[in-house]
C-alpha cells in the first residue's frame, strides 16, 4: 500500500491569468474561435536571456512554470524531474518538418529538431536547477501527467528520506494541430464562446486548449497544500468503470460522497463523452459542489495539469469562483476535492486530493 504524497507548490501558465494574477479567476478570459491559447508571462524572469532567444513558446512556458514551482516551494533544486506531455513542442516539430519538405532535406536548422524532442524541457529544467537526479518524460496522451504523478508517488515511497520531485505537464496548440485534428472531428462545428462550451453538450466536439502546469511533490506533509490521497488511471473508461473507480477511491479513504466538498469534472461539452459525467451530476448530494474547468483551458492531453493547479488554489483560497460551478453544494469548507477527467483517446483519471491541516 502506497503512502500518500503531498503537493507543496503549484504554478500554471494557462489560457487564464493563472501565473501571477493576484486573485483567482477574477478576470476570466474567453474566446470565440474554438481555441484557447495561454496568457504569456514574463519568461525572462526564469530563463537565461541568451538561451531564451532561440526558444519556442512551448519551451518558454514549460521551463518558466517549472522554475516558478521550484521557487514557490522554496527549494534550490528538486531531487528529480518528471514530466508528461501528449504532444511535446508541436511548433518546433512543425517547423522542422515544414523546412525539411520545403528545403528538400537540405541546409536545415537543428534548433527546431532539438527542441521538438519530447524530453527537451526536462533537460532544460535539469540544467537550470542543476538537478542530476531522476529524470523522466511520459508521452501517453491523456495519462501523460498522471504517469508522472504515479512515478513520483512510487519514488517517494521507495525513499524514506524527505524528498521533493518537480512534476509537471505541458502541451501546446498550433494552427496546424487545430486543422489536423478538425479532420479527426475533435472540435465543435458550430463554435460557441468558450464560456458557453459546457451548455453546448448536445453536439460532438469540443474546443482546443493548451497549458503548462508544474508542482513540487514531496513525502513530507509539513507546509504542503494538499495530499494526493488516491490516483486511479482508467483505460477505455465507461460510465460504469468511472463510477466504480470513484466508489473505490472513496472506500479506500473511508469517505462518503457527501464528504467530497467539490468534484472537479473534465466535461468538455462533447456529447460523446458527457455520459461519463452524468452520474456525478445526478448522484452528488446537496453537500457537494460540482465544478468544471475545460471551458477555461480547452481540451488537451494534459488538461489535468490545469485542474490540479486549480484544485490547489481552491484549497488555498477556500473560495469557488462562480465561473467553475455547475451545481452548488452546501459544505462550508473545501477539504476534499475529487478530480475526474476523461480524455478522448481512451483514458480517464480519478484523483482524490485532501487538504493538509
Amino acid at each position: 500500500m502506497m503512502q500518500p504524497v503531498y503537493i507543496s507548490s503549484a504554478a500554471a501558465i494557462s489560457p487564464q491569468h493563472s501565473f501571477d494574477a493576484p486573485a483567482l479567476l477574477t478576470d476570466v478570459v474567453s474566446s470565440n474561435n474554438g481555441k484557447l491559447y495561454v496568457q504569456d508571462a514574463d519568461y525572462t524572469k526564469f530563463i537565461n536571456p541568451v538561451a531564451i532567444r532561440r526558444m519556442s513558446r512551448m519551451l518558454k512556458t514549460g521551463i518558466s512554470a517549472g522554475m516558478r514551482a521550484v521557487q514557490l516551494a522554496g527549494i534550490d533544486k528538486p531531487d528529480g524531474i518528471i514530466t508528461g506531455t501528449g504532444r511535446g513542442s508541436m511548433r518546433d516539430m512543425e517547423l522542422f518538418l515544414g523546412d525539411m519538405i520545403r528545403l528538400k532535406e537540405e541546409a536545415l536548422n537543428p534548433t527546431y529538431f532539438i527542441q521538438s524532442t519530447y524530453n527537451s524541457i526536462n533537460g532544460w529544467l535539469a540544467m537550470q536547477t542543476k538537478c542530476t537526479g531522476y529524470n523522466q518524460t511520459y508521452v501517453h496522451r491523456g495519462h501523460s501527467l498522471e504517469m508522472a504523478l504515479l512515478d513520483a508517488q512510487m519514488l517517494l515511497n521507495e525513499n524514506s528520506t524527505p524528498q521533493t520531485y518537480l512534476v509537471g505537464s505541458f502541451d501546446e496548440m498550433t494552427e496546424d494541430y487545430f486543422l489536423v485534428k478538425s479532420k479527426a472531428k475533435y472540435w465543435k462545428k458550430n463554435i460557441p464562446n468558450s464560456l458557453q462550451l459546457l451548455q453546448h453538450n448536445d453536439t460532438d466536439g469540443t474546443i482546443g486548449g493548451e497549458g503548462a502546469a508544474f508542482f513540487t511533490i514531496t513525502n513530507s506533509a509539513a507546509n504542503s497544500i494538499c495530499s494526493i490521497a488516491q490516483l486511479q488511471l482508467l483505460q477505455e473508461p465507461t460510465t460504469e468503470t468511472v463510477q466504480a473507480s470513484i466508489n473505490n477511491t472513496l472506500a479506500a479513504e473511508g469517505l462518503q460522497l457527501k464528504d467530497i466538498d467539490l468534484v472537479l469534472c473534465g466535461m468538455s461539452g462533447d456529447a460523446r463523452y458527457q455520459p461519463l459525467y452524468t452520474p456525478i451530476l445526478q448522484n452528488t448530494t446537496a453537500h457537494t459542489t460540482v465544478a468544471a474547468f475545460k471551458h477555461l483551458c480547452g481540451e488537451y492531453d494534459t488538461a489535468t495539469g490545469f485542474a490540479l493547479w486549480l484544485a490547489t488554489k481552491l484549497f488555498q483560497t477556500q473560495i469557488t469562483p462562480q465561473v467553475l460551478i455547475q451545481k452548488k453544494g452546501i459544505n462550508p469548507e473545501i477539504r476534499h476535492i475529487l478530480l475526474v477527467n476523461h480524455y478522448p483517446q481512451g483514458t480517464a483519471t480519478v484523483v482524490l486530493l485532501k487538504q493538509y491541516k
Partner: protein, 402 residues
Amino acid sequence: MAEKIVVTSLGIISALGSGANANLHSLLSAQHGLQYPQHLQSIHAPEFLMGEVALSNDELSAQLGLPTGSNGYTRTALLAMMAMQEVLQGIDKDLLQAEGFAYINANTVGGMCSVEDLYPDFVSDKQEGDFLKYLDTLDCAESTQNVVKHFGISPFTATISTACSSSANAIILGVRLIQHGIVKRAICGGCDALSRFTLNGFHSLKNVDKQTCRPFDNSRFGLNLGEAAGYLLLETEQSAKERGAEILAVLAGYGNTNDAYHPTAPSPNGDGAYNTMQLALHKAGLQPQDIQYINAHGTATINNDAAEGKAITRLFENHIPLFSSTKPFTGHTLAAAGSIEAIFSIWALQQQKVWANLYFTTKMEELDILPVQQTTDANLQYVLSNSFGFGGNNVSLIFGKA
C-alpha cells in the same frame, strides 16, 4: 519490497532480422545489418548507411495478418507489433491477462515515418483520402495503443520518451511497477522506425557518418541510424517459477540520472554516465569489479564515446570490464536501442560471449582503454548496458546470469 526481477521472454526485430534467432545468429557470426536504405524515401538514402529492417510495410503487415496498403498502421507500430508477437509467445496470454500486466512502450517520434509523407495533405483543404487514417498517428502513444488493440489485450499502459534512453527507462518503470505490486508482470521496451525527420535532424547536427560507424575508434565521426523494436517480459522470480517459465536473466540493477549539462552534448568528463553506472551498481548491490562486460552506448559520435569512455575509466579503474558497442550491427535505433541492447546483453550472459565492437582499428587519443574487437568467449556473471540520450537523460541497466 525489492523482489528479484527476472526476464522470461524476448521479442526483437532489427536490421539483423526478424526474431531472436536471426538477430542472435548475426551477432554470433559478426554480420552487421547496415546498408543503404531501400524503404526510407530520402534524398540522403544513397549517402548514408543505415540499419533498416529488410521487410517492407506490406511484408510486415502480411506477417501480422493485416491488410496491405494504406492500412492506418505506421511502420513504427508495425515494428512494435512484430516484436510484441514474439514476446507474447513466451507466456499464456490468458494467464498474463488474468494476473494483471503492464505494457510499457517507448518511442522518440511516434508515427513520423508516415506523417512526414502525408503532412501536406494533413494541412491542406483536402477532406478525403487515405491520409485520414493516419491523423492520430503523430504522437508517441500511437504504437502503444495499436499494439494493445491488435493483440486484444488490456494491460496497464504507458509510453516514455527520453530520446535514446527511452526503452531503458521503460524497463526501469516495469521493474518498479512490479515491485510496487501495481502489476504482476510487465512487457517493456521500445520501437522506432527510420524517418526523414530523424535522419535530417541528426544530419543537421552533423552527427551522422557516411561510412560505417566506428565506436571508440580515434577516427569515429558519427552514428548510423537504425530502426528496431524490442521488448522484454519481466516478472518476479517467484512468478516465473510458479508458471515454470525459463529464466533468461536477472535484472539486477538500474540507474537513471541526468547530466544537467547541455541539451545535446554529454558532460566532457562523463560525469553523467559515471553517476548513472554508479547508481545502477549501488541498486544491484555490486562493486565495479563484479561487472565483466559493458554493452556501451557507444554511438560513435565524437562526444559520446569520449565521455562514456572516460566515465568507464574513472568508475572501473583497475578493473575495466570487457566493453563494446553493438551500434555497428544495428545502427543507432534510438528509442529501441535500450531494449534491443538489453536483449544483446542477456544473450551475452546466456552464450557467455562478448560481442565484437566492429570497425575498431585505432585507439582513441582521449582514452587508454580498448573495446572488444572480436566476438569471443568470456566468463560473465553481470553485464551492464548503457543508454544515454539528448536532454542528458542517462540510464544504465545491469543484468545477471540466470
